[in-house]
Every structure is written in structure tokens, then in C-alpha cells.
Symmetry: C2
Amino acid sequence: MNDKPPAPERPTIRQVADAAGVSLGTVSRVLNTHKSVRPETRARVKEAIRSLGYEPDSVAQSLRSRTTRTIGCIIRDITIPTLASFVKGAQDELQAANYALMVANSESRKDRELELLSLFARRRADGLILSLSSEEDQEIVEAVKSFHLPVVLLDREIPRSADSITINHAEGMQHAVEYLLSLGHRRIALITGKADLHPGRQRILGYHRAHEARGMAVDPDLLRSGSFLAEYGFRETSALLSSSDPPTAIISGGMDMLSGVLRAVRTHHARIPEDVSIVACSDCELAQFVTPAISVIYWDWAMVGRFTARILLDRLQGAASPEVRALRLSTELIVRSSCGPPPASSQTVRHSVTEAGP
Amino acid sequence: MNDKPPAPERPTIRQVADAAGVSLGTVSRVLNTHKSVRPETRARVKEAIRSLGYEPDSVAQSLRSRTTRTIGCIIRDITIPTLASFVKGAQDELQAANYALMVANSESRKDRELELLSLFARRRADGLILSLSSEEDQEIVEAVKSFHLPVVLLDREIPRSADSITINHAEGMQHAVEYLLSLGHRRIALITGKADLHPGRQRILGYHRAHEARGMAVDPDLLRSGSFLAEYGFRETSALLSSSDPPTAIISGGMDMLSGVLRAVRTHHARIPEDVSIVACSDCELAQFVTPAISVIYWDWAMVGRFTARILLDRLQGAASPEVRALRLSTELIVRSSCGPPPASSQTVRHSVTEAGP
DNA sequence: TTGTACGCGTTATCAA
DNA sequence: TTGATAACGCGTACAA
């Protein structure tokens, strides 16, 4: 019966059936716990499974079930510590539900994103977690919409087209600016990404709100909105610090921008917080262990990951309402030692500039 | 012929064939560039493919080809920045060769590792990158050996059973210790993992070699070999600093241990490098941006990732010799500001202790 | 050069 | 309760 000389390969359900002296259908029923199997045969089949070390081939299962139990995830760069935390959180949750996560780095490049999107399509991912470089680019938005799969956008919003989980950057930024204002700062710089992406847009919003709440005008020169990269943080911090009327506080408005900002501060031999106060967006080892420790707008990235996975799993298990879900997570201001009152010398300068505002 | 009412799904090769008015075999030949296709029909098929937006289903391909173009990777924790760099490097290389990488965190737990190993088996990974928690545990070693797949061990060695890429920690450590000795230090502590794992074992070896080369005995109390975790670094650093005869230099012998060591140093209000010199193993943002910047034993993790992928790809493409390959990467000592001469007060103490050695 | 038919390992339907 | 059989989508001998 079992005449297969060159078969050192993995056993199939067929071989288990032969070994147990039953049909392949019966083995399948045992595996999937269909009750209609006599206990006696069930035991015999289980024994055969054990002795052969049989494990179902998930590729074949996928072909049949039209489901891969695989989630695709496109992020900027897994090397960014906060994103790694996110990935881990999502992965833990997904793995517990027997799903695998496949992560890919886009480097924020549109071509890579489109490529990866089609990669995940070919690989028949069951769902997608996306943190794309644009919320508006038609090609990308169309590509996302064309997926008839559960998609969760991470810190992005494409209204009415996909579930999303976002951070309340506006609120967090407003609190941070209010805090700096309360310390006496009147020239607070914000360096962040462009307003065409949720995080940049919301941070700018919060920045404005905090000023408005005090009836203060915003000096547009203090608002640097171009990129989230550390390199941009370095460049703009350098420019700000060497300007004729430098800020007394700088907010590093990107999750991995802080190193660039700190590098510039050191290059300019500015002391923190004596010469300039610093606040960063999202916590990291660097912010905690640098001296002085940097105050941050905090949220739990791993939890965001778990939530994201939950949303996805709910959709996949049909346990979700048909409407688009949009979760928004609050932030918390963690005060450390990087903020103090503005240097006394800036007091006079301050006024002349507030007047020079728009 | 094409009576499939509810078919808003992805087109199959079948539908492409119908659309082009050829048989399904011909479409397959076009897709796989089998030359024996008349240019005219080839064009017609390509047009059909384009207009239907057809993409081959890689699940079905996998079932046929018995290959998934997927590599499994088990590491301790993707959250460790250095490992994230490794993963990224490997991923870049693999993606270029049209392979996908599936990463899973083991938290160094044996049960998780076995579980993940069997997960990757079920999912029919084509190859594995493993950085396991043990090189000796029989159950694990057997599980690894039982895979008839290309496997590359990351910074681990199981002789004669799988390719491996390791870091020359012994050499790196020896240089680091020699450097500290040359600064005048005579009581240099090393905190690292157990000797049952390559990195710990090799670091301890290098530590001993550097002492031997100077004819110096090693005070066993200065060698703390228990774990690579930051928490262990914190504990042992605390213990060392509050001992009656503290070290004048401490080597943080784990890729993500530094934060723990630094935390302990600060808790004890010790100044770096005035009171204690510090060297870390493997570079990271933290080491670079903390003040003073920490000297490190450096190697390029992303390159290790790319090499690892290369080894794997060579095997998968049959372009590798049958013998087991064992690549070993050199390290480089990056001197920053965390090391200086030992404090003068330690001079007298030093001698009494060298004599008290084993 | 092109079409047909089979098999990859499952699950599910339908008879027995 | 169980066994035979038809898909799932693709690649490939083999036949035409």
C-alpha cells in the first residue's frame, strides 16, 4: 500500500489515512474536530498523526480556504524604535489568534509602497496595516481602496475608506505648548512634517490652538513643517538656533527626529534647558537616558499595535460593525528635565518679535 | 463557458485564457517565458493579462512548486534596535531576490522557539534565520537538525549542523580590554551573558586573553556572566559599584544592556569617565547621544543581515558548496568619551586586590 | 506551437 | 459514521 521509495518528505494527510487504515476524509474530519467520527477511529487516526509527526500543510489549506492567516504591514522603517514596538504589539496579538505578520519597510517611498501593496495582494494577505507616505496621492488611495480586504491605517486617515487608528497629536501638542508657555516661553519652535499627513497636520493644529488660547500670534518663522526625519530636525534646529532671534524652546515633532535635534543643539553648544528647552514627540530610550532626560509627549506604541491587531481581527472574524472605525488614542505629557524657564536675556527680544509677527 | 455569476474576485489564469482565446497552458507559458509561444499569441495573452489586471496567485504557485519564497526568522525581540537593523538588512537583500521575511520574537523562551519552529514548518518556509536561546539544548538542536531546509544561525554555533554567521566577540572584547588596560585600568568588570551561548562565551574568552597577554590574573568577582538583559546590567553594575573594591571600568557585554548599566551608574552618582569608564558592546543611538558618548565595540548589523540573507540565498539557489559555512565578522573599537584613566584614588586599592585574586 | 490532463495537499459535499 | 470525489489555481509532461 505505501510503496513510496523516495519519500523522506513531510507526511501528507493521505499517508496518515493509509497508516490509520481510513480514508483521507476521515482524517480531515478528525483534524477539524467534526463530531461525526467514532471515538475508536478518532483515536486510531490521532495515533497515526502522532507517530508520523504529521502537520497540516498551511499552503494547501490556504488554497482551499482562500485565506492565508497572514497580515501585511507597511511602515516607514522597522529600525525606528517606536515602530518596532508597534510591530511587536501587533504581532503578539495576531500570533495569539494564529495569524502571522509580514512587515515591509517603505522608506516612505511611493514606488516602494505600491510595489509592496501588490506584493501583499499576490501573496493573498488577509488584511493590511498601513502607514503610508500620503493620505492624498490618488494612485495610492486608489490602490488601497481597490483592496477588498480589511485595512487599518496607522496614524493616517483616508475618510470613509478604511478603519484607522490615530494618535491625538493635536491634543498632545497643545498640552506641550501650554506647558512651555506656562514656564514663560514665548518663542516656541515646532519642527515637524508637512501638513498633508495626519501627524504633521495635527501637531500644527495643536500648536496653533495653544497659542490662540492665550491670544498669542504664531510667528510663522518658528513653525518648520517639512519632514519627520532626524536630518530635517538637525537642519532646522541649527537654523533656528543661529537665527538672530532664536526660540527659547524647541519641539521635536517626529517620532525619530530627536537625535537630529540634539545633535544640532550640541553643535551650537546650547545648554538644555538653560539656553533652550526641548520637548520630543513619542518616547524612546534616547529621550530617557540622555542628559538631561527629555520631556516627551507619550503614548504606548505597543498598545497601539495591539489595538490595531484587534480591529483587524474583529473585521476578519466578522465581529465588527460595517461602518468604518476610527480609533483615536490620547497622549500624556511626561515631564523630565529638559524644560525650564526661558533664559532671561530673551525677555527683551521676545517682545520685539511678537510684534513683528503676522 | 464562463458561467460564473458571483465572481467579482481576482481573475485566475483560466479567465485570462478565455479572454485571450487560448488555453490555460499557453498563458502559463507566457507568464513563465517559455520561448515556445508565437509572438502574436504572446501579445494577445499579455493584453488579456493587462486588461484583467491578472496577477498569479502565489499560494497556488507555492502548492505546485513546493516553495513559498518565504524565510522565517526567530530572534529575541525586534524591539532591540540592533536586531531591527539586522532584520532590515536581511529583508532588503531577500526582497531584492523576491523572498519575503517573516520575523517572530521568541523572548528567548524555549517553548516559544519550539512553537515558532513548528509554525514555520507548517507554513513551509524555504529557509530559516535563527538566533536561538541555546546552542546545546537537545530538544532545540534536534528540532533545528530535523529541518531539511537551509538554516543560518545568527551569532550562534551548532557545529556541523547549519551555516552560521557570528561576530568575533572575542577579538572585539580583547581589544576593548586592552584599550582600558592601556588607560591604566586594572580592575575592569565585564557584565555579559552565560558562557553557554556564543556571544557570552567569546566575550569572556577575549576578556581573559587580554589579561593573560599582560600576565594579569582575572579577579572572578569582576566577571559577571548571567544574562544579556538590561535588568541584569543594572543589577550587576549596582552591585559592582557598591562593593568595597569597585571596578574602575565596566564593560556592558550585551547588545541592549547599556541602558541598565547607565541607569545604575547614575543611581550611584558615579561620573563617566571620572569615576568609572564604560564600554558597550554593539553601537546604538543611545551610546552615541548620551553624554558622554559611550565607546563601543562596533559592527554593522545591517551588513550582518545582508550577509545572512546572502548565505541563505546561495543555498536556496544551489550555488553553495555542500559543507557547512561559518562566517565570522570582525569588530571595530569606536572610542568616544566614556573612557579615561582610572580615578587616582583607586591606585592603592588596585594593588591590594590584584593580590587577592585567585 | 498549442491544448489536455494530472497532481500539489486540503476541505467539503454527497453517497453509501 | 465513513469513503469517494470535486474543487482551489497553477505548472508541466504529454499529446496533438
